[in-house]
């Protein structure tokens, strides 16, 4: 079986649709370790991907006024037990462009793996980018994942991310995203992570509302069990008139797990407003009792509540 077939098999087992590679209307980039296994660009979207000594460097451009109808699939992974993969991404959506990127990060056999992502993203005027990222790290927990992104959203632009790591082990995760939102720009950063055993989760997300009437939401949902730990930092600054931001963090903790939420809100313009809410604790008693009154066992009820939170 070729490396591409093996990676796509793991991709399929993690719930992905293997048919995307064959579809000529869908742009994709598939990389295993330091190798690019498959890439396709489509009209209006250019991939300039190169192999580097430690991973992949890719420049993605969506041309002015182009709306990419089908989601663009990015599939990164390492099939071996050990290794390093450093992905450097430079993404640009030109004025009035729009695209939805779906990233699949697959490390099914990770015992000692380090995956680093450094992304620079620029969303042009009136452009819109949606970025969904789903990880599968296998069952050993021997992985360190360090995604970092610096994003600029220009006037009337929209940028939303949805990071999911809810199946299998997490290992060590250290997210660091920073977004600067211009006039009337809208940013939404959502992360959902389920930590087990001794998984260690650190998420730092920052939205700087620099432009007039810019909007920002940081929403984090984390469930922890066993001896997993999490430190969630959500930073929002309102630095322009009419800017509105909100930080919303909810963490459910079981067993000996430890959770920490650090919402940082700062306003430097009297016409801006930033709010936050954070809730950490065991499963809500009233939710639990309501489901148990429907005949579910305590274990079934907790499972449903946690899955709902991470949905």
């Amino acid at each position: 079986m070729s490396e591409l077939e093996e990676l796509m098999k793991a991709f399929g087992e993690a719930g992905g649709d293997k048919g995307i590679l064959a579809n000529e209307e869908i742009a994709h980039l598939v990389a295993s370790g330091h190798k690019i296994l498959s890439a396709r660009d489509i009209e209006g979207l250019e991939f300039d991907a190169k192999e580097t000594l430690t991973g992949i460097s890719a420049k993605v451009t969506v041309k002015e006024g182009i709306e990419i109808k089908n989601p663009v699939h990015l599939c990164f992974g390492i099939l071996h037990k050990k290794g390093t993969q450093r992905i450097k991404m430079d993404v640009k959506l030109e004025k009035d462009a729009s695209a939805h990127f779906i990233a699949h990060c697959i490390f099914p056999n990770a015992e000692k793996i380090r995956h680093v992502m450094d992304a620079v993203v620029e969303i042009g005027e009136n452009a819109e980018m949606k970025y969904s990222e789903t990880h599968y790290h296998g069952l050993y927990g021997g992985i360190e994942v360090v995604p970092k992104a610096v994003v600029k959203v220009r006037k009337n632009g929209k940028y939303s991310t949805d990071f999911n790591l809810t199946h299998g082990r997490v290992g060590k995760l250290e997210i660091d995203y920073s977004v600067e939102a211009g006039e009337n720009a809208v940013t939404e950063l959502i992360a959902r992570v389920f930590g087990h055993a001794n998984d260690n989760i650190k998420i730092k997300e920052e939205i700087l509302l620099q432009g007039e009437n810019a909007r920002g939401l940081i929403k984090t949902r984390v469930a922890l069990e066993d001896e997993a730990t999490a430190e969630i930092t959500g930073i929002t600054e309102g630095n322009a008139p009419g800017a509105r931001g909100h930080v919303d963090c909810m963490e459910i903790v079981k067993d000996k797990a430890i959770a920490q939420a650090i919402p940082i809100v700062k306003v430097t313009n009297s016409l801006a407003k930033v709010t936050h809410e954070a809730a950490i604790g065991s499963v809500d008693k009233k939710q639990l009792e309501t489901l148990m009154a429907h005949g579910l066992s305590p274990e079934e009820a907790v499972d449903i509540i946690v899955k709902g939170l991470l949905r």
Binding site: R221, M292, A293, H294, G295, I304, R311
Partner: protein, 238 residues
């Protein structure tokens, strides 16, 4: 045959006696209204029957279908056929109305039960049971979920309360479905017009039943009360 028998129940929280020598019997397929002002112990009684955490009888007995259930947990009671709609139903993230209505009864047709509580399927089936719902919508969905369980005994804790309350007709419609399915209902309310739809009624005051029987008679009795809030001290009946 009795579905529920509560015998000489007492419940003390701290130094306060909330329920005292309380007895009540509900027959199969009976709708029993429990009237009382705020603070009389109606919701506490509901929690004790359901077996909620922190609510255990100080003395007395609760018998369901001939079996003492004092020591059973909430889900064990639910599995026997008891369920409850809370006065202020809790919200859930990431759970759709469709899932919520079919967690336990996979065969239930969620659309049917939504229509029974006056909600249009196409507007609600895929919505989340979260804070995007109004208080009234959430209450209706809770009632639909209780109907879908087809319980032996449904405890409805003030389905008529709240800002966005259900109308009397809404509640009559729901009660009629329970009746048709052969479920018994303990209908907790402080509105006498709601009690009139029951087969029998009782009025609670200071943790005791002070009047029981025909709903019209109990409602008249309740209307003539002097107290609006039960403070456990000043009351025309005790």
């Amino acid at each position: 045959m009795s579905v529920l028998e509560i015998k000489n129940l007492a419940y003390v929280a701290g130094n306060k006696k909330i329920l005292d020598d309380f007895s009540l019997t509900i027959e199969a397929s009976e709708v029993h209204a429990l009237l009382g002002t705020n603070g009389t112990g109606k919701s506490t009684l509901a929690y004790l029957i359901m077996g909620c955490e922190g609510y255990r009888l100080t003395s007395g007995k609760i018998v369901f279908d001939g079996k003492a259930i004092n020591n059973l947990n909430i889900h064990e009671r639910a599995q026997l056929g008891i369920t409850m709609a809370w006065q202020e139903p809790v919200r859930f993230e990431g759970i759709t109305v469709r899932n919520y209505l079919t967690f336990k009864n996979k065969e239930a047709d969620p659309s049917f039960y939504l229509e029974m509580v006056g909600l249009h399927t196409e507007l609600y089936l895929h919505r989340m049971v979260d804070k995007s719902l109004s208080g009234g919508e959430r209450k209706r969905i809770e009632l639909a979920s209780i109907l879908a369980l087809n319980p032996r005994l449904a405890i409805l804790d003030e389905p008529d309360s709240g800002i966005d309350m259900l109308s009397t007709q809404d509640i009559i419609n729901v009660i009629n479905v329970f009746k048709k399915n052969g479920s018994s209902v303990l209908l907790i309310t402080h509105r006498e017009e709601i009690a009139l739809i029951a087969d029998n009624a009782s009025q609670m005051c200071w943790g005791k039943i002070v009047c029981s029987g025909n709903p019209e008679r109990v409602a008249e009795y309740y209307k003539s009360r002097k107290c609006l809030i039960c403070d456990g001290e000043v009351c025309v009946y005790v």
